[in-house]
Amino acid sequence: MASLSADLVQREPRLWQRIRAISWGLVLLICTAACFGVAVLYSAADGNMEPWAAKQTMRFAITLILMVGAALIDIRLWFRAAYWVYAIALALVVAVDLRGFVGMGAQRWIDLGVIQLQPSELMNVAVVLALARYFHSLANEDAERIRYLILPALMVLVPAALVLKQPDLGTAIMLLMGGVVLFFIAGVRLRFFLLTAATAAAALPGVWHFLRDYQKNRIYTFLDPDSDPLGAGYHILQSKIALGSGGLFGKGFLQGSQSHLSFLPEKQTDFIFTTLAEEFGYAGGLGLLALYTLIIVYGFAIALRSRNHFGRLLGLGIVTNFFLYVFINTAMVMGLIPVVGVPLPLISYGGTAILAVMLGFGLLINVGVHRDTRLNRSGARRPG
């Protein structure tokens, strides 16, 4: 045992080593994207730091520290805490349902005084964390047995259902899709997905019944956006006008007529990509997508280089989640998919969104920092 513990001490990276192991390149990319976001928020407020840009800068700074903190914590601690984190997040979601703050016609926030916490966003990270732990502990061959899949499926479906009931269609979809991808990475056979897809298709009329009128409207509007240009289709039409009129190089910083003259709805949150692409054009929009792509590629590299299953699952889950955010948001503002409330990570104004994203990145970097740490099925370090 003594040799074992000596071994432990020897192999345990010191704090400064861990700091050095942080992928500073990724941090730089994240900061770049965040700066871009602050600039767009500055423009969205007609060239003012208030009310969004200054607050967003502060939030980013705080969550940046939280991210580094999350990155430096021993990965085994995260492994052990995974279910607890999940339980707390789930409890918060339930709490929102029970005594939530009513805003925007939807119950999504818990007012903590300094921040209006949106637990459904945190739920994303929690689900990835919990599933990563679950599948880590599962033997590969067990992943093909359906009875071992019931529990993780519930771990995804329960919060998804709760979030949908809030109602927050965007986040619910995020949870489901994130879960599906994690199942896939964990090695679940393709036929299970097909089976699930068939079941889901069968359940669709039931789900439709649960949707609120405005959510149904959004889907109608998506199917035929020009049918009601001043009503339900207004947002997406104005968004397309803003994007299209931006052209190749855009109208210039602070010059976006659609956003500055309030034709664009939610210009600082869900439609911020439009604000950006109107002012910086195709070049600017593509630039941001390129930045995101770099971050995602970086994330993939970190995840795949992890020597433990938990790390790989966690990293890939978080990167995929990030990708889903980016894709759903941008595809939505371009009129490719129905309007669902999903923010653009690192750019959109909003406290919980950035907290969730930065926590996710913290875990991703953590995977990178602890890529050589080995974990056995129960989470204890495997003997070297």
Binding site: A242, L248, Q258, F263, A277, G281, M334
Partner: protein, 625 residues
């Protein structure tokens, strides 16, 4: 596999952006500009209408209205209450304001009261610091300093009606006014100017953010007329005592109308802001037709004022010479019909000059019979009857000169000689406007086919500048004939025994010539012929005869022609000179007195010419003749 999927999706995003931002960009740029840019028209100030000396008949008057911006005012009801304590705000105004506020965006100013007086302005200005959102704004409204007196000739402006819309967006502006009658209508294009535009950037709620560009419009041009405001005023005041009058003062040489009056008039100002139904009802129900310009749209049998036409036609055709004698026993029998002279016991034997002077009906029955309707109608048309004269304001009526074809076409019956006789004294089917009668005399005294006009665009403001006299074509009637007829009209006024001798101007050099007339509104019955005519007081106003007079002055080189028709103003069997004559006399005297510089001889004035062919007539008292 996951990476490939994500890469594919990113490619989809990039492709979609390419489609929106590069391929379809032009379309969206247009849509974005349509979103943000509003083109606002700026109403050009309307041109003024001036008289020949530059006096304004129609002007733009600055007016002030009280507006309220709801979002700045806060409590609308309280603000309205506060305003009501300062100025009068009616219950209807209040309801309209509240309704407008509900319908419009909160930043759109709503007019509370228009046309503020100075007193009201002052009270509001003092209180404005305590009334947020309340302000006084300026606007232009059309004003007519001469009001009723020139309403018919100047016309009025009013809101554009649906049928007048041409697609010009200027016409669709709520505060735009278009000329509806008179000079306002005929010169509307000149007066209107062209709209300026203001490009403003608006936000999604329609609030103006800033002005991007402004193209100033062209203000409407002033229109100078040949009117003389002083004479217009004089004529109107001279006529106002009568119930229903039309009168025109004309420059015989230039054809310019110096004054034109139709009594009763109407106030053109309320049309600008919109008549109330009650006002409209009152105007349109009035039997004296205040809205009709009777000088050009009133048609009357010209009566005896038509006799110079018959005389000219007869002399020109040679059916009569100045020496031809005709006996008037008081009536003339044709077939089994009898045609009466106005003088029951007749004029005895007389020649043309005396027949004009005494206005003998029988002489002109006989003359017309010899002449025939065809030659009479041809001369009447040549002298300006039977069709519109082309005056440059709308509403002229053609009148009527009957002919065989007309009779056949309208009644299906052949022309009868009796109608020729009746036409010989300007009754029956013969109808003329007062302006036509004036033009007839202008043509007789100048020998040229004078046409009337109001606008003076080519000449501008000048006192007596005749350098650019219009070149009217010659009438084609022998100057000797014209001189004889004009001399006969001189005798009417200036010789003892003339029907208008009482109305002569005695001041040397100012004398006028003329012709009186009475136009019957109803036939005189056989009973009346036998038992004497009813007393004027026994006849209802509507059935009384019209009194007419047309005069020219001076008798040497006549320059001015004045015609007056007093509706139902005649004494039955009289000459019209008693009522209409004095008006013409006073006006012709005044116009000569007022501006001696204008009393220059016109070209080719026939009165200047000697009349060599015929023996000169004895002139007992012909001042200036």
């Amino acid at each position: 596999m996951l990476g490939t999927g994500q890469a594919a999706l990113v490619a989809v995003l990039a492709g979609r952006m390419y489609q929106l931002q590069i391929l379809e960009s032009d379309r969206y740029v247009v849509l974005a500009d349509e979103n943000r840019i509003n083109l606002q028209l700026l109403t050009p100030p309307r041109g003024r209408i001036l008289d020949r000396f530059g006096v304004a008949f129609a002007d733009n008057h600055q007016n002030y209205h009280l507006v309220i911006v709801p979002e700045q005012a806060g409590d609308i009801a309280a603000t309205l209450d506060a305003l009501a304590s300062l100025i009068e705000v009616g219950e209807a105004d209040r309801r309209r304001v509240l309704r407008d506020i509900r319908r419009k965006h909160p930043f759109v100013p709503v007019v509370v009261r228009g046309n503020l007086s100075w007193d009201e302005m002052a009270r509001i200005e003092v209180a404005i610091p305590e009334l947020p959102g309340v302000s006084v704004e300026q606007g232009l409204t059309r004003s007519y300093p001469f009001g009723e007196t020139a309403a018919h000739v100047i016309g009025y402006v009013a809101a554009v009606s649906e049928s007048e819309l041409t697609g010009d967006p200027l016409l669709e502006l709520p505060d735009f006014r278009i000329g509806k009658s008179g000079v306002e209508k005929s010169q509307d294009a000149e007066l209107r100017g062209s709209a300026g535009t203001s490009q403003v950037e608006v936000n999604a709620f329609g609030r103006v953010v800033r002005e991007l560009a402004r193209v100033p419009g062209r203000p409407g041009s002033d229109v100078v007329t040949g009117l003389d405001a002083a004479m217009q005023d004089f004529l109107a005041r001279r006529c106002i005592t009568e119930e229903s009058v039309a009168s025109v003062l004309l420059d015989a040489v230039t054809g310019e109308i110096l004054a034109l009056v139709s009594i009763p008039g109407f106030d053109p100002a309320p049309f600008t802001t919109g008549l109330t139904p009650a006002m409209w009802q009152q105007l349109s129900a009035d039997p004296r037709n205040p809205l009709t310009n009777k000088a050009i749209a009133g048609v009357y049998p010209p009566g005896s004022t038509f006799k110079p036409v018959v005389a000219t036609a007869a002399l020109a055709a040679g059916v009569l010479t100045p020496e031809t004698s005709i006996t008037c026993p008081g009536s003339l029998a044709l077939g089994n019909a009898t045609f009466h002279c106005w003088r029951q016991h007749g004029h005895g034997t007389l020649r043309l000059r005396d027949a004009i002077k005494k206005s003998c009906d029988v002489f002109f029955y006989e003359t017309a019979r010899r002449l025939g309707i065809d030659r009479l109608a041809a001369m009447a048309r040549r002298l300006g009857f039977g069709s519109p004269l082309g005056l440059d304001i709308p509403g002229e009526r053609p009148g009527l000169i009957p002919s065989r074809e007309w009779k056949l076409a309208t009644t299906g019956n052949a022309w009868s000689q009796g109608e020729t006789l009746i036409a010989g004294i300007g009754q029956g089917s013969v109808l003329a406007t007062p302006l036509q009668i004036a033009i007839m005399v202008a043509r007789l005294v100048t020998g040229r086919a004078v046409t009337p006009r109001l606008a003076r665009a080519d000449r501008g403001i000048s006192a007596g500048d005749d350098s650019a006299l219009p070149d009217f074509p010659a009438l084609g009637v022998s100057p000797r004939v014209l001189a004889f007829v004009v001399d006969g009209m001189n005798a009417v006024v200036n010789e003892q025994g003339g029907t208008a001798y009482a109305e002569r101007i005695t001041e040397p050099g100012f004398a006028m010539g003329g012709k009186s007339g009475t136009s019957q509104v109803r036939a005189i019955s056989e009973y009346e012929h036998e038992h004497g005519l009813r007393k004027i007081s026994q006849i209802p106003w509507k059935e009384r005869d019209h009194a007419l007079f047309v005069g020219f002055a001076p008798v040497v080189a006549p320059r001015y022609v004045c015609v007056t028709v007093v509706e139902h103003g005649g004494v039955t069997g009289g000459h019209g000179s008693e009522v209409a004559g004095p008006i013409c006399r006073d006006v012709l005297y005044e116009v000569q007195r007022r501006d001696p510089a204008r009393r220059v001889p016109g070209r080719d004035s026939v009165a200047q010419l000697p009349s060599p062919g015929w023996p000169s007539q004895p002139r007992s008292d012909a001042p200036g003749g």
